[in-house]
């Protein structure tokens, strides 16, 4: 499989796309190339996905390949696992990642384990897409990211794009992968009218196909003083924090993990070896999650490099509905700025 990021080429190279359009472009490309690729989920056909994840696909591919399903996550995720084992390449969408619990056996006991349980007689080349994240007052059951939950359970690759360019390349890779991939897209990054994205996720996107390999973190901003490791929406919040600190002479490097499984430990360690100061920022719950894992990986292989460390995550509470309360628990650029100043406080 081609794993190279190509030169940006083709017509309209100065075209920018929202993250949702970049995802849809990759899906449409794969569907044209391979009749075995199909998409199913709640409101993915006529509605085009409530976060625009399938906008326009029904018109091109019809109802046999873009399928609205009854509201049973168990039934349709199970159907996708079966279709994948039979040789198809399904994409099944969880409308909100928070609904994973309803179909959890299909996810962590079937999707993630059937390759192993069958002794390699079947594999499960499917993609489970899901909308994640808060910041728009949708309360505790519609605002989680659950990054750590999926990354914890073995057998699934876990992808979290932060820009349109990354989203397209990672989606191509996800559909072509012969193992199950969980592709978590942040609602706030999609570029929807009623849920405006920050500056940053809308990027130039080549019309041609390209893949971004899994396990390849991307340094979104180079810096010498502090390493911020993060993913998804918080890449953009970290970049905002980095810009505000540049005026004070603090040079911040921002590492976008892009995939949690596989995890690019090497890029993180190299950055910390350079800066000595680590801040890990996550929109998931703090305990037993991404922040703890990243810090542990750095400590295991490079404890001597680590002068100071901080983590910024959602305190271990359900995400509140009320705007000021949600804003309080979901990390913002100021929280990241403060953590960066704290790790630098002994300088």
């Amino acid at each position: 499989m081609a794993q190279e990021e190509p030169e940006r080429r083709g017509r309209q190279t100065d075209r920018s796309l929202t993250m949702s359009r970049a995802m849809v472009e990759a899906i449409a490309h794969e569907m044209r190339d391979d009749d075995e690729v199909f998409y199913m989920g709640e409101d993915v056909a006529d509605y085009g996905g409530i976060f625009d994840s399938t906008e326009g696909l029904l018109e091109e591919f019809g109802r046999d390949r873009i399928m609205d399903v009854p509201i049973s996550e168990t039934a349709y995720i199970g159907a996708a696992v079966g279709a994948a084992q039979a040789g198809m390449r399904p994409i099944a969408e969880l409308m909100f990642v928070d609904f994973f619990g309803v179909g959890m056996d299909q996810i962590y006991n079937q999707l993630a384990k059937n390759t192993y349980m069958s002794g390699g007689n079947v594999n499960v080349p499917m993609v489970l897409t899901a909308a994640v994240g808060g910041t728009y007052n949708d309360a505790a059951q519609h605002s989680q990211t659950l990054y750590g939950t999926f990354a914890h359970l073995p057998g699934m690759k876990v992808v979290v794009p932060s820009t349109a360019y990354d989203a397209k390349g990672l989606m191509h890779n996800a559909i072509r992968d012969d193992d199950p991939v969980v592709y978590l897209f942040h609602k706030r990054l999609m570029g929807i009218g009623w849920l405006p994205a920050p500056d940053g996720p809308k990027t130039g996107v080549p019309e041609d196909e390209y893949t971004i390999p899994f396990g390849s973190a991307d340094v979104k901003r180079e810096g010498a003083d502090v390493t911020v490791v993060t993913l998804g929406l918080h890449v953009h919040r970290a970049l905002e924090a980095a810009e505000s600190l540049a005026d004070d002479g603090i040079d911040v490097e921002v590492v976008d993990l892009r995939t949690l499984v596989p995890l690019d430990t090497e890029t993180v360690r190299e950055s910390v070896a350079k800066t000595g100061h680590l801040v890990v920022v996550d929109e998931d719950y703090q305990s037993y999650g991404v922040t703890g894992e990243i810090i542990a990986r750095v400590a295991e292989g490079g404890l001597d490099d680590l002068e100071a460390v901080e983590r910024v995550a959602v305190p271990d509470v359900p995400i509140p509905y009320a705007r000021p309360m949600e804003d309080e628990v979901v990390p913002d650029a100021d929280d990241i700025t403060n953590a960066i100043r704290t790790v630098r406080s002994n300088e």
């Binding site: 075209r15 920018s16 009218g193």
Partner: protein, 87 residues
């Protein structure tokens, strides 16, 4: 400005949703910037009327000469979104 005689307007009314009662919209996303080359039919931008999103195609092939309305700008039906200098 005489240059306007040659330029083609991208008119918000051209793709107004049929079933919208409202005469006001908001620009959601631009996909191209000033000076970009466009072909007739390329999606230039997206605007929203009554929660319905509409893609605005380039009316002619040419160069995107001037963006009149920015992202998040509100406008009335028939306002000019941009000017294209045809080839």
């Amino acid at each position: 400005m005489s240059a306007n005689d040659e330029r083609v307007a991208v008119d918000t009314a051209d793709v107004w949703p049929d079933d919208a009662d409202e005469d006001e919209g908001v620009v959601v996303n631009w996909f191209l910037s000033d000076g970009s080359r466009v072909e007739e039919g390329d999606a230039l931008c997206e605007y929203q009327v009554e929660k319905v999103s509409v893609d605005v195609p380039a009316p002619v092939t040419g160069t995107l000469d001037e963006l009149v309305l920015e992202e998040d700008d509100e406008f009335e039906r028939g306002d000019v979104l941009a000017w294209i200098r045809p080839e």
